[in-house]
Amino acid sequence: MTSTNFDPRILKAPHPVPGAPDNWKRFLSFNTDAKVIGIQYIATSLLFLLVGGLLAMIVRGELITPPADLVDPTVYNGLYTMHGTVMLFLFLFPVLNGLNNLLIPTMIGAPDMAFPRLNAAAFWLVPVFAVLLMGSFFIPGGPAQAGWWSYPPISIQNPLGHFINGEQIWLLAVALSGISSIFGAINFVTTIIRMRAPGMGFFKMPLYCWTAWGAQTIQLIGLPALTGGAIMLLFDLSFGTSFFRPEGGGDPVLYQHFFWFYSHPAVYVMVLPVFGIFSEVFTCYARKPLFGYKFVALASFGIVFLSLIVWVHHMFYTGTPNWMRILFMFTTMTIAVPTGVKVFAWVATLWGGKLRLTTPMLFCLGGLLNFIFAGITGVMLGTVPIDIHVGNTYFVVAHFHYVIFNAIVLGVFAAVYHWFPKFTGHMYYEGLGKLHFVLTFVGCTLNWLPLHWAGLLGMPRRVASYDPEFAIWNVIASIGAFMLGVAAIPFILNMVSSWARGPKSPPNPWGAIGLEWLLPSPPPAENFEDDVPTVINNPYGYGLCQSQVVDEEYYIQRAKEA
């Protein structure tokens, strides 16, 4: 890589360009390069995946036997609350924002995000609320213990009566996380709408960008409700208001509406980008175009729209009237349709392909199988009479972990492997990757498949102890959970050693189609700089013998020479 590739403007920029000697320091600074921010996000979030996973393993350690004998029940409640909080706000949202930062500008041929400083500010809020949340373990009374739902009145009971307490810090952290996500969402949506390469109409845009666009639109619509709800709850907790406090005439169920109006769509904020990853990975490793590209793209916004009108299905048994149950059951059931369109399209994409079972492909296949399963239990939960029985039991826990871990996190792993060579410039080790996949897939199946039966038999979620008849399911689940802990070892080993000394990656090691693969690995600071390619064809033209951009050979050659 020579400096002649760069615009003089960039050389004068305050941050060092990739390849400059003190290169690693930029990851610890207020850097405005989207690719640096993306790696900052991903590294931070993977660290918190370990923290959240450790909390989960203590939880599963407690649940391996029926009585509450490992930790005090209050500690158990704090641990599972923080497990959920860490996994959502410090792992999943940041890791997806990291992928957005890496992928959106490179996929649409933009030099950077629309608002680079806002982008860096959004990232640097993450360590701020991470320190707040982790610090809350050490204050008198311990961290928040009301579950990640934080339903009042339990969340505002404040047993010690201190002004500063775990719940208050939790609410502040959630509000800060909301602000960070709104910063991010403004950036991503603007970038996608305004900064696409010439010729890249919306229907020539990669699906990852479609789904990220949809997901970030949800953030913009939904997050104000959650952030508002959290602030009202903070006032009830700390300043004696009665928005949700029944003693003062408030309504605890009102909070549930604020919470779920965002927190149901939040699932789609996480799953939509993974749908995008599936579309990228399946086409690349099945060597076929995406089946029904336009339908899959439009289905994303079908899901966005429907996700905003289904939230009451989390409240079928919490004190909502019958008419509301029925109405929201119908809207909930409809969401299976656009999701089904996507699933059928992926299966049709695989059909008759030339499948290469690389690590990212394996993770996506595993994720797709688990997602189909989760979709089926999701429809079951959407029907009122079944939800009344299994709601708030381990059936729900198993279902949403099937979505969030077994589908979303597997998709995230797939993305990390698939784009690792592009953004680090090194290949990962395929053997370690496959070992990671096998341990993860077996572990997550052992962990969450049995818990469906515990739920059907009536084991409530969030319990620290349970009746002995549920023991067998919990023993299997705990073994699976510990296996997932072991699965982290080959992953960390692979990432660290590959980045440090893995073989150099060519610009396009997978023979993939997409603007990001026309860039050198790793891409220079401003991607295509002033030489942005003009897009002429649809993405995913595998086997169609067509160029995606004008003068494709020139860009391929340029990337190789860089």
Binding site: I154, A286, K288, Y293, T318, G319, V341, I376, T383
Partner: protein, 311 residues
Amino acid sequence: MTTTTNKKGPNIRAIVIISVAVALNLLVAFQMARWSYSWFPPQASSAAPYVDDLFALETGIGSFLWFGLTGVIGWTLLFNRAPKYDESYGEPIEGNNRLEITWTVIPTVIVFAIAIYSMQVNDKLEALGPKHKYAIGSDPVAVAAVDPRATVGPIDVIARQWSWEFIYPDGVRSSELHLPINQRVNFRLISEDVNHSFYVPAFRLKQDIIPGSVISYSLTPTREGRFRLRDAMFSGAYFSNNQTDVIVESPESFSSWLKTTAKKPLQPGLSPGSELYAKRLATGDKGWATVPPAPAPMVNDPGDASIPHDA
């Protein structure tokens, strides 16, 4: 298997394979639906059979979809793998509008059919009555609506951190819920501290109890036995212990229980949280903060937590 695309006339082999696969899948799905009944606790209320039937139907449809889709994916994994060093592409099919319409319309019809059937099942449960708000501290019973079709009750169900108390119309108080079989019972669900949930897995029924509101709730037990009543909405430190038993018995034993219990003096009832909290205080009050448990309710029948439950 892209053999169908360029041939004229029906591809007999493909049709046979697909028909056999669909028939096998139907068989497996049907077996899964039948098997699903064994995944539940016994059916102990009039609602349970409806819920289990609906679940079996959804298990059947879900299994058909699951085995169908995984079968297709498995087929591609077996027969569509690229040999090593094969850099070629699959057949570049970009889509098929007829297929897209099919897999939009058919799932829409299926989910709406399930939703309509669920709506009918929901009507048959007839459990949830009206919810009325009241000011905490005033008498919740004054505002509650009573189910006119219920022959037993209204029984006041009072959930606390962490105990259950059941007050019968004639003033009998109990820590365990005794119910006569095959009679519709009406409850008034009341909480004065935090959210709780009245959940009896054997009845397949669950209703949250919201402080500041009294909710009228009805059900008909249909099987004698001792069933677990579990608090299903997280309620704090000793939430997992906030459980008691529902005893469904013959109308004769129920009325004799009512008579003998009415004569018993009031005594502290089951309060599993209090014991655990006392133990915690005795061992140095370690752990994170919790509110202290509410005092044990004063009841005529304190129940017995050591008797094993049926489900």
